[in-house]
Amino acid sequence: MLSPIAQVGSGATEWFLATHSPITCTDNVGPVDQEELFKFLFSASKPETLVIVKGEPGAGKSQLINWLKIRFDDSLGSDEHPSMGDRRVRSVMIRRRSGSLKDALEQLVEQLPEFERYLAKIRAAIDGVSGEAANLRLYKQLYLCLFDARDTAQKHLRLLHEIFNANGTVKWLCRKNGAIDLNIKRLVEQSDATARESLPFFRADDFKFPPSANLGFDGDLADRLADDEVLRNAAASRANEYLRFAIAGLTGLRGDTLNEIFREIREEMQRRGEALALFIEDVSTLSVLDEELVNAVQPLNDPKLCPLVSVLGMTIPAYVRLPDNLKGRIDRVLEISTDSSLKLQEAGDSGIDEFVARYLNGLRAGPDQIRLLADDVRARGDQRQSVCEDCPVKTKCIEAFGSVQFGDVEIGLYPLGPGVARRLLKGLDLDTSLRNPRTLLQHVVLPLLGSIATEFRGSTVGISLKPRSPGDLAVEQDRMLAGWTAEQKGRISYLLYYWTGRETLREGAAILAPMLPWFQHPPFSRLDPSEGKPDDTRPPKDFTRPAPVEPEAPKKYHDSIARLDAWFQQNRPLERDVEYRQLLASVISRSLSLDQVRIPSQRVQGLSGQITAANIEIEGMIKKPAVASKARFVFERSHEIYEFLKDLVGFEHLGKSSWRFPGGEEARRRYGHWLSKREAQYIRAYDITKCDSRAALATGVRFLRLAYRFSLRKDLPSDLAQAVNQIVSFKPTDTFGLSAAINNMSNDLPQRVQAIRKVILDELAVRQGAGGINFIDPRPIVENLSFNADDVSLGEFDGADVEIDFPSISRLQKSQWTMLAEVLQGEHKALETLIYSLETVLRHWHISTENMPEAIREYLESARAVIKACEEANQLLGNDNLQERIRSLAPAIVSRHVSMIERGVSVVDGEALAVLSLDVKEVNDTVDLLKQIDAAIRRLQEALSQRLSDVVTTEEVEAGQQQAITSIQEFLALCAAESVCPEVEA
């Protein structure tokens, strides 16, 4: 039955009254207590009284207005008579409830059933803000408002109203969670006070129409809105300017409508001889009609109207928004603050302690006795009975936790204590800075009672508190908290300060000691003799004495420990986590024996760069974890880590980066123990790779071997040591290829070899000090060199994460190196084409191509002879360089060319892989030379064709000479053998 929000309806009036603390608000003169305010209203001399109670959310406006309403009703039920005389007073209470306009209007209609005919428009308004069509109606209202005001708009927004009357824009502007939709929801759905302070406004993006919506209104405006964000902002502002007006128009209660409704009702009541008392907890629930409401209940001094007492609760912003002319018509403006109920400004903590004591007493009373308490409040203004009186443990309880006096009775403060509520309220760790009665009930009393009921589960006290770790915890915990569980030790960061007001165990232990059994805690294992015996250290009644002097321990230390306590004991986010992450980063960077491990490799270790706080992830830290590509060292929210962090904090702040502080030796031992236990885990965390590094290594080594063959055109040395040496040191040369693929692969080979080699060396590097790589583990290279030389694949390595873990290997996998076999086939084919392209040349010069190498030899020798003949004949080839090259084709050089072609032919006749053993460039050079020679000599031949046509050669002469000699010899033979002269038969 305990609620932080005034629960008056549904038979809860007794509970409300029993736990109600008198409220004192202020007006422009001074404090006004609740009874005084009631009398002002009840006995007002004027027929119309309008009182505004303003205050921040949770300050107690509703509490006060509800109390006034109850008091009003109680008084009307008794012999008291208001200033309204004998009139029947109808009191209407509009509570906040869901906070929606619809709900507020419905309450009004429900509580004035006899005046329904006057409320038809309000019912229509309720219907108007509901249903799917409401969005469209608001859309249309905006059109009407903007249309009416078009003349006041800036030049480019004169036609803004068209946007709210275009078929194309309806769907966009009325879309779910758009400004229109959110405003409609606000009218019918639950909302909190903060949200009600403002409307969901249009934004510039609402006027950035999707293509489908960019239709049906002025084209120029559409273009400008599409292109100009400034104009879109202006459009949103313009629409927002009329949004409230449009919503009011949507309800149909805009202008004087609400005023007229109230007027008609009051006229009717006047005719009936009745009076109206209107209590509204929060006017903001009436949303855009707040001004209209105030306007409707303002004093009008019209005798046709019944007397009216209006008490309206308003938030400060809502009140500020009221026009000055309306403010001037308000009879009394009262402001209610936190102190109005809790009286925190009073000396001591009596106000707040009494506040909670009423609740605690009411709670202990239960439904059977609550009426008695309520009756005391009605009759005597406050509680006058204590449920503790019948409690068998009253004495011990009050000895431990203290009590509050209400007249003659003593109400125990268990589980709080004198001043505890104030400290807890101040120590709350909430998103809001509001510290009011609602906060106290909602965030302190209720959670604490719940936590006590469950015996303090966890290391906290069940309240969202800032921990206040004892300043001497590190020093004293081993001595004073021996035998305590980790959770109990953690809880000391709350119990000591908040329940005793002391900052150190030495000072507060004696005060806390009698409370410990009530919290199911073991006693302190040892109390400082100087503090006296626990039994002698009853908590002083007055906790307002000056706070103890801060111990020597740096403030930073306490602050760090407090945040740590909150993190672990309250399961709260770790505030300013960077501090702890930096400490942990230092541990990771400096204390792990990375030199002793090869897995993860140095390369993988290096992927994360310098380990910083960004690499540290503490469970529950506020900052988002570092990007996934870096090593992440995760520290869970555990007692072990909590203690470890506390030791690190001590190391940092108490020992000034050393273990030289009280308790440091123990902390250092714990540190060493922790390290030996966790080191392997955190070394493994360096490995952020997900793919198989061995497979990556194999691929890399395969590539280097292929690159070696590709570049140097020979296989690795058979000696493994030399082969490894070559793998890690060979420099790829510029490799000529006949095919574009080969040349492409050659172009980026140096960089690729360097990158892949770096990966391999980094993977295999054996750390030796801080220097570079001077020793590697060659075994993986040797293992991966054993694959068949005919296998030109990069091996099987298919990992989805290879791109992240081994980017250079990933790029290699996407390169043409994966298709080396096909590339070599292409090169093989190109080589064949190249070599046999010489057949045309050779045939032209009538050289047999049956034996290509020998044909090349003949060709080159003949060409050289031609050139020599040219030189003898003073005939130039026309290309000096080429002429010189041909002239210098000595037999050895010719043999070299022949040998090159011979090797080329051999490769062509063999498998494509054989290309890797051939310097294709030399073959190409030879072919190129031959073709150059061919072209040049053909030109020469053509140039000399005229001159050579009748030339007699020596050979011709010699041939003729030989023929003549032969003939003469025949003649001689004839002369010598005349007897054998042939007979002629015919």
Partner: protein
């Protein structure tokens, strides 16, 4: 452009280019060797022809040693000069004049042999012609067949008296023609006294008294036309 035999492509081109600087010499030398070859071929043909003629004459005369000394002399002379010619031609630097002289000498040797064969053939032709003419009148009167044989010989030799034959067949046909005449004469069975009487009568030296010889008288009676051919003249 002529490509030397067995030299093609680049080698041929090379040769052509290499020949460019000394075209005059090469042209001249080519002329010499070409001429030499032509002349040698001509001499060879001529020599062969003459030797064939010698062969034919020997058959026609049925004398295997006919003109033997002439032949030996001519060939010896030609051989000697041909050897000298060969030596000249084998030199790098041809001497056209000397070569020409050698050819002249060789030609003279072969020409002498040609002359000898021409004379020999003329003698043969004359001998056959004379003998045929001698019996021609008697043949006209005594035997048309004999006359036919004589006319066949005339046909063989007609137009060929100035050119010695080189054909053995021809030579044999001449011999055969004469042998046919002889056979025809023998077939007339003329007794010696008659034969003597006829010869004398043919030569105009016959004695009319011989007519009273019975054998002659009988022979004359057998061939009455012979009687009509006899007339007496006074010396």
């Amino acid at each position: 452009m002529t490509i030397p035999s067995g030299l093609r492509g680049l080698r041929a081109l090379e040769a052509k280019i290499r020949g460019l600087p000394n075209q005059d010499t090469l042209q001249r030398r080519r002329q010499i060797v070409r001429s030499t070859q032509d002349q040698v071929r001509g001499l060879q043909s001529e020599l062969i022809l003459n030797l064939q003629r010698v062969n034919a004459l020997r058959i026609a005369q049925d004398n295997s040693d006919l003109l033997e000394s002439n032949v030996k002399r001519a060939l010896a002379s030609a051989s000697a000069k041909t050897i000298e010619l060969l030596a000249l031609l084998r030199k790098d630097d041809f001497d056209g004049r000397k070569i020409s002289e050698k050819f002249d000498a060789i030609k003279r040797a072969t020409k002498s042999l040609a002359d000898d064969t021409g004379t020999g053939w003329a003698d043969i032709c004359n001998e056959y012609t004379d003998q045929a003419n001698a019996i021609r009148p008697i043949a006209e009167r005594l035997s048309p067949r004999l006359l036919a044989r004589i006319q066949e010989l005339d046909g063989l030799l007609a137009g060929k008296r100035n050119t010695p034959p080189n054909s053995v067949t021809f030579a044999r046909s001449v011999v055969d023609a004469w042998r046919a005449i002889t056979i025809e004469i023998e077939s007339l069975a003329i007794k010696p006294a008659v034969k003597q009487f006829l010869n004398d009568a043919k030569n105009g030296t016959g004695d009319p008294k011989s007519i009273i010889d019975p054998e002659i008288r009988t022979f004359l009676d057998t061939y009455p036309l012979l009687w009509k051919s006899l007339y007496v003249v006074f010396r």
